[in-house]
């Protein structure tokens, strides 16, 4: 019954990367085009063993294409994809046994029960955890004998996770695991991912939720138009915005136009204000030392004869990183 230990021992013997030297996932110069759309345009990535790595970006950024090339479901036009020291051309069967996959929008047969579905997936793997253990991990004990058709969205997603886990994978791919879930179900799933991280599995996940990436990922690659436009820990990336906080405001006043003309140069000379941009009448400043900068911003705007119609601040997030890099909001699509 002690299969888990057996897998580990065997892998240490057969796989040179197991000592933790080589990256678990390695992409070099990967490109993929569909018809006339360049979905992935020259991607280089390395993911270390035990890392939780996030691919972040708007819909259509190439996240799913990237993860599907890693999963061996889509062949790249160019470049190399290596996982666990193996590649899909020569090591596909061995790789399939060692990775766990959760795809976007898989619908399991409605008329099978949770346990029957997992029993089927478990039978595909030579080694793995027991069906009972996967049910426990995904916290589906109460739903063990329920049909899949009667599960909630969050429970279905946890079943998909359990199916990805039955083979006791070293490397786990999660494609938009919380898309379409309500906030409570999302947090529930995050806890599950946390547990898997603590168990030492390498996890690659895609998401277009910035808070999710910030909460779960050790490192994040922000993608846009098939390219990585920023790479680092969430803290490093947020640091590139220039300030820890974001100030957003809108003004009224000025007789000639609906929106008053703001002298941006005057604002950016204020100590603590790092940058200014305007989007649909809403001005955004990245700011450090918020408590000192805000009174000065008020004073400067009053000095220009402008009245504030909106004013708010929030801590800088990965969303702001994306906005700063692309000039677009993540969900502008």
């Amino acid at each position: 019954m002690n299969e888990r230990a057996a897998v580990g021992a065997e892998d240490l013997g057969t796989w040179p990367g197991a000592e933790g030297s080589g990256p678990t996932l390695l992409l070099r110069g990967v490109r993929k085009a569909f018809a006339d759309v360049q979905a992935v345009d020259g991607l280089d990535l390395e993911v270390a063993r035990g890392e939780c790595f996030g691919l972040l970006g708007p819909n259509g950024a190439g996240k799913t294409t990237t993860i599907e090339m890693c999963e061996g479901l889509t062949a790249p036009d160019e470049g190399t994809v290596e996982l666990l020291g193996l590649n899909w051309r020569s090591g596909a069967n061995r790789l399939r046994q060692r990775i766990g996959i959760q795809l976007q929008e898989t619908q399991f047969p409605d008329k099978l029960t949770v346990e029957e579905t997992l029993r089927m997936f478990r039978s595909f793997f030579k080694h793995g955890i027991s069906v009972d253990e996967s049910i426990r991990t995904a916290q589906l004990e109460e739903k063990r004998n329920s049909r899949v058709g009667g599960l909630s969205g969050g429970q279905k997603q946890r079943l998909a996770m359990a199916c990805a886990l039955v083979g006791d994978p070293e490397l786990l791919f999660l494609d938009e695991p919380t898309t379409g879930l309500d906030p409570q179900a999302r947090r529930h799933l995050w806890d599950l991912v946390d547990e898997l991280k603590q168990a030492g599995r390498t996890i690659i996940l895609t998401t277009h939720y910035m808070d999710e990436a910030q909460r779960l990922c050790d490192r994040v690659a922000i993608m846009d138009h098939g390219k990585v436009i920023a790479l680092g820990t969430p803290q490093q990336l947020i640091g590139t915005v220039g300030g820890e906080d974001i100030v957003e405001f809108a003004v009224s006043g000025g007789q000639d136009s609906a929106h008053g003309v703001v002298d941006a140069a005057a604002l950016t000379t204020i100590p603590g204000v790092h940058s200014h941009r305007v989007d649909a009448g809403l001005h955004q400043l990245s700011v450090s030392e918020l408590h000192l900068a805000v009174p000065r911003i008020f004073a400067a705007l009053a000095g220009q004869g402008l009245h504030l119609s909106e004013f708010r601040t929030h801590s800088a997030t990965l969303e702001d990183v994306f906005v700063q890099l692309t000039g677009r909001n993540l969900r502008d699509e």
């Binding site: 479901l73 399939r96 898989t106 619908q107 047969p109 099978l112 029957e116 089927m120 083979g167």
Partner: protein, 343 residues
């Protein structure tokens, strides 16, 4: 930890069974529909005692002569009234007394009217004093195996095997593709051939139940004969089911939506429902189209099953049909393995 639980082929086959058994509509169409159809047709086409035919005559003398025949009942009517009754179908024939003899007024495209013409003429000639030149007697047979129900049961069996194999495979595969389950399965270490094999295995197990149920009913309720070898009949059913499973696989190998699959299935099956001799002999179609009609898998299947059940012909005399079925298994199966789309 038993081996069955860890055999993926076994698990996949069990899953197919479970999914089938949890689909009540499928059970109706596969098990009960053919029986309802057989019962309906059995009632509609049961062999009735020979009908007594209604005729009319313009004189009482003729009426008496006609009534002497057990196959006829006759009324006396005048010519205008008789013509009207003829037109409305109340009588099949009107015998009109003329100066020189008798004229029969009837529709010669109606088989019953032609029979009435023969009987009426015999009755009138006999009454007038004609004697038979040759003494003739009758020996009546009402044999099983020559009734319509005997003819239609192998047809329904073939049609049912076609439907269950094609729908069973085609719909399940297209549904799994549409729901991205196929993609999830190929992303797992599942050997791809096992997925397709699980369909064939569950189909074969189902086939045993389905065929035994239907033929058992036909035997008990209608006394349909089984003159050929049962083992050979089983082999024919197996081959038929494999051929249609392969066709179902081919139809579903690329279709992305249920609607597309339904359309394709009907395109494949409809011509066979009409042309392959389920309800009437396929030989009724013109000679030009016969080679095409006979090359259809359902025609071959039904011809072979009828020959086995009704005439007791052995497989060695049905090699053409067996060859056609085998070709319809091998070619679509090979093609669909090549073009099958997993996502």
């Amino acid at each position: 930890m038993n081996n069955l639980e860890y055999s993926s082929l076994c698990q996949l086959t069990i899953v197919r069974f479970r999914l089938f058994l949890r689909e009540p509509e499928a059970i109706f169409w596969i098990f009960f529909f053919p029986i309802l159809l057989a019962v309906g047709l059995g009632i509609a086409f049961r062999n009735r005692p020979a009908d007594v035919l209604q005729v009319g005559a313009t004189t009482t003398q003729l009426t008496q002569a006609l009534s002497a025949d057990k196959g006829l009942t006759a009324d006396t009517v005048d010519e205008a009234e008789g013509t009207h009754e003829l037109a409305t179908g109340r009588i099949l024939l009107l015998a009109i007394q003329t100066v020189t003899g008798v004229t029969y007024k009837y529709d010669d495209t109606n088989p019953d009217a032609r029979t009435a013409r023969l009987l009426a003429d015999r009755a009138i000639q006999t009454a007038a004093g004609r004697h038979d030149a040759v003494a003739a007697g009758n020996e009546l047979v009402h044999e099983t195996g020559a009734r319509y129900i005997d003819f239609v049961v192998p047809g329904l069996l073939g049609m049912n095997l076609m439907g269950s194999a094609m729908w069973g495979l085609g719909f399940a595969i297209v549904e799994a593709r549409q729901k991205k389950l196929l993609k999830r399965l190929v992303a797992s270490p599942m050997p791809k051939w096992q997925y397709l094999a699980s369909f064939l295995l569950s189909r074969l197990a189902m086939l045993i139940i389905e065929v035994a149920f239907f033929l058992g009913f036909a035997r008990v309720a209608f006394g349909v004969p089984f003159r050929g070898s049962l083992a050979e009949l089983a082999l024919l059913c197996l081959l038929t089911s494999l051929a249609f499973s392969a066709l179902g696989l081919l139809v579903s190998s690329r279709a992305k939506t249920m609607e597309a699959a339904s359309g394709l299935m009907n395109l494949v099956m409809l011509p066979m429902w009409i042309l392959s001799g389920v309800f009437f002999s396929a030989s009724r179609f013109p000679a030009v189209v016969q080679p095409f009609v006979r090359a259809l898998p359902l025609t071959a299947a039904i011809e072979a099953m009828r020959a086995n059940m009704l005439q007791g012909i052995g497989l060695s005399h049905l090699l053409l049909q067996v060859g056609i079925l085998a070709a319809w298994f091998v070619v679509p199966f090979t093609v669909s393995l090549r073009i099958f789309r997993w996502r």
